[in-house]
Amino acid sequence: MSAEVLPFAKALSAGLAAAMDADDHVLLMGEDIGRLGGVFRVTEGLQARFGEQRVIDSPLAESGLVGTAIGLAMAGFRPVVEIQFDGFVFPAFDQITTQLAKFTNRHEGALQMPVVIRIPYGGHIGAVEHHQESPEAYFAHTPGLRVVSPASPNDAYWMIQDAIASPDPVIFLEPKAKYWLKGEVDTAERAMPLHASRRVRQGTDVTLVGHGAMVTTLLQAAALAEAEGTSCEVIDVRSLSPVDYGPILDSVRRTGRMVYAQEAPGFASVGSEIAATVMEKAFFALESPVLRVSGFDVPFPPAKLEGQFLPDADRILEAVDRALAY
């Protein structure tokens, strides 16, 4: 094992570099990703190392970025597009949903679309409007796209390489609150496939499930619950399309209770979908309904209110109490 402790952003950067070393047709495109290294510095140093044609400081045009990435994929490249902030992906939404997602299907399999769209997403950084959103449900709802979200530096390192290797388009959601989170990265061996969900804490009373930055909050809630005598299991979904239900169902069948936590508004969300599926597939194992803890169904509020908008450990524990009260 060759392990080192890295912040999430550095692990991601190392993963990108590894993929670029392995295949000279992997290229990075985005706004300010070259000389500046990206607004979150994920691509820092990569242009100096790989040159301006492989780490491209593109014009400021998101539809153009994704549209030209599609053309580059047709020409044999594996483009990795960085969208600067979650709220800026919408000008590219048409290219992602009507074009990128459908090309393999329209070509009856003759053409593949190995394009990765990296999107820093979610709150916790006190930013201004359009800079803290959770657009995952839009993409998970679109057939043809794969949607993943790493929550740890080790996953950041490996999942970006697996996403680039995928012949399908992957929406790669980076919890921006975790860019500075440090963790052990095993650069010698990947722990699990791209689309596997993962149990990150064992427990017996309630199953807590979530993705992205919320995984850390779930672990905090589980630690607090432990102190009060409640044993919580925590599962990091990792892949939002497809969802790996195995570990989730396995856990719910043992605990009989589940809480899904996410930053995104709850209505028609990834958490809603997973909750509904668990109720369909594990109905007789459930002691209480699957509960959701979400952002509210309002626009992401001004930063001074994000503490009230985003689920925290207390709101998760309130749901745990409700689940146990049945």
Binding site: G67, L72, M74, A75, G76, H107, R146, P242
Partner: protein
């Protein structure tokens, strides 16, 4: 003054079919003089056959065989001239009215029919050499101009253009219309093409109408002049003049392949039919206008020119017979098209295994099999 009276337009054939280059066309005359009689006859044959196919497809739609048909009637010269200027190694990005372009590149007309009949969302494989690097139709206006620009970036990055070897160097030709030119994606495509100096020709067929909205509502300035804002050479050509359309495209593609960056061409033409078989052009345009364009018919014009050069009546009769056979063949093969297996819906949504899609495919198969006798 109509746009066709623009003194800067490139035209070599008058509306009556006389060879009379405009001043802007002088530099293109050698390219036209280099064409053989066979080349000229091919241009004419292409146009006549394409029109027969278009008429047949329109009829098939009226008879309920197709869901929709976007006619190419009237735009044959712009399409034949431009695509005959492309080389085999060039990549072609059509929108959804480029039937003439696609079939000349080798796409089976029945593959286009399959798309419009509702049997497929693509219809042909652009990676199959038989289709002449012709990409599938894109129905979202202007989207494909970005795919073309991205492809052009790939050609630059892989040094597949600008090497000085015209046998190897490749270019990209992208077709779009006056309506699509209002889309943001076309703007972004021109920004990227100019930024990365892609070997690319933007070929705008200005057929005067975006369904019911005239070009005047979309642009206060001639569309070809927009290219100047991107630092891209551009020109306006008489799109109903097949020789002029060929010559400007030939030079633009040659220059793009050689590494001079992107170019834009606005071909002034007219769709004589409806936007698609769903609309009724009598509601939004006048018969005077349609008649004035009918007098500039690209096929009649070229025929007069060829007659003046001594083409025989036998040649014209032969082409007409060939066109009839071609259209008949399309009809027979369209009527023979079967349905599609239900399973097709689940195929190729992803390249790699996706458990949700597999689960639903299996569920539907089991569900259909549960009926007496099975329907799957």
């Amino acid at each position: 003054m109509t746009p066709l009276d623009d003194p800067d337009i490139v035209r070599v054939l008058t509306a009556e079919g006389t060879f009379a280059p405009t001043p802007q066309a002088e530099r293109y005359v050698p390219l036209i003089e280099a064409l053989s009689d066979t080349d000229l006859e091919t241009f004419y044959r292409d146009m006549v056959i394409s029109r027969a196919f278009d008429r047949q497809a329109t009829n098939l739609q009226r008879q309920g065989q197709l869901a929709l048909w976007p006619p190419s009637y009237g735009q044959e010269a712009a399409q034949v001239g431009s695509i005959r200027a492309a080389r085999a190694q060039d990549h072609i990005f059509p929108s959804y009215r480029e039937h003439v372009v696609a079939t000349i590149r080798g796409v089976d007309p029945v593959d286009i029919i399959r798309l419009m009949r509702g049997l497929t969302h693509g219809g042909w494989d652009p990676t199959d050499a038989r289709n002449g690097n012709t990409h599938v139709y894109t129905l979202v206006l202007g989207s494909h101009t970005l795919h073309a620009a991205g492809y052009g970036m790939g050609l630059v990055f892989d040094k597949r253009c600008g090497t000085g070897d015209p046998e190897q160097d490749a270019a990209v030709m992208v077709y779009y219309g006056d309506g699509a030119s209002s889309q943001g994606d076309v703007h972004e495509a021109m920004v990227f093409a100019a930024s990365y100096q892609t070997p690319q020709v933007f070929f705008l067929q200005n057929n005067q109408w975006a369904i019911s909205v005239p070009v005047a509502t979309q642009s206060r300035a001639p569309l070809y002049q927009r290219a100047a804002g991107y630092g891209m050479p551009s020109l306006r050509v008489d799109g109903n003049d097949v020789l002029a359309s060929y010559a400007v495209s030939k030079l633009a593609l040659d220059e793009a392949r050689a590494g001079s960056g992107p170019r834009a061409i606005e071909a002034m033409t007219y769709r004589m039919g409806a936007h698609t078989t769903s609309d009724d052009p009598t509601k939004y345009r006048t018969s005077d206008e349609e008649e004035s364009w009918a007098r500039r018919d690209p096929i009649a014009r070229m025929r007069t020119y060829l007659e003046g050069r001594g083409a025989s009546e036998t040649f014209f009769e032969g082409v007409d017979a060939e066109a009839r056979d071609y259209a008949d063949d399309v009809r027979v093969r369209t009527n023979a098209l079967g349905g599609i297996p239900v399973d097709t819906m689940f195929a190729h949504v992803y390249s790699d295994r996706h458990p949700l899609v597999e689960e639903q495919r299996q569920w539907l198969a089991d569900y259909e099999a549960s009926f007496e006798g099975g329907q799957a």
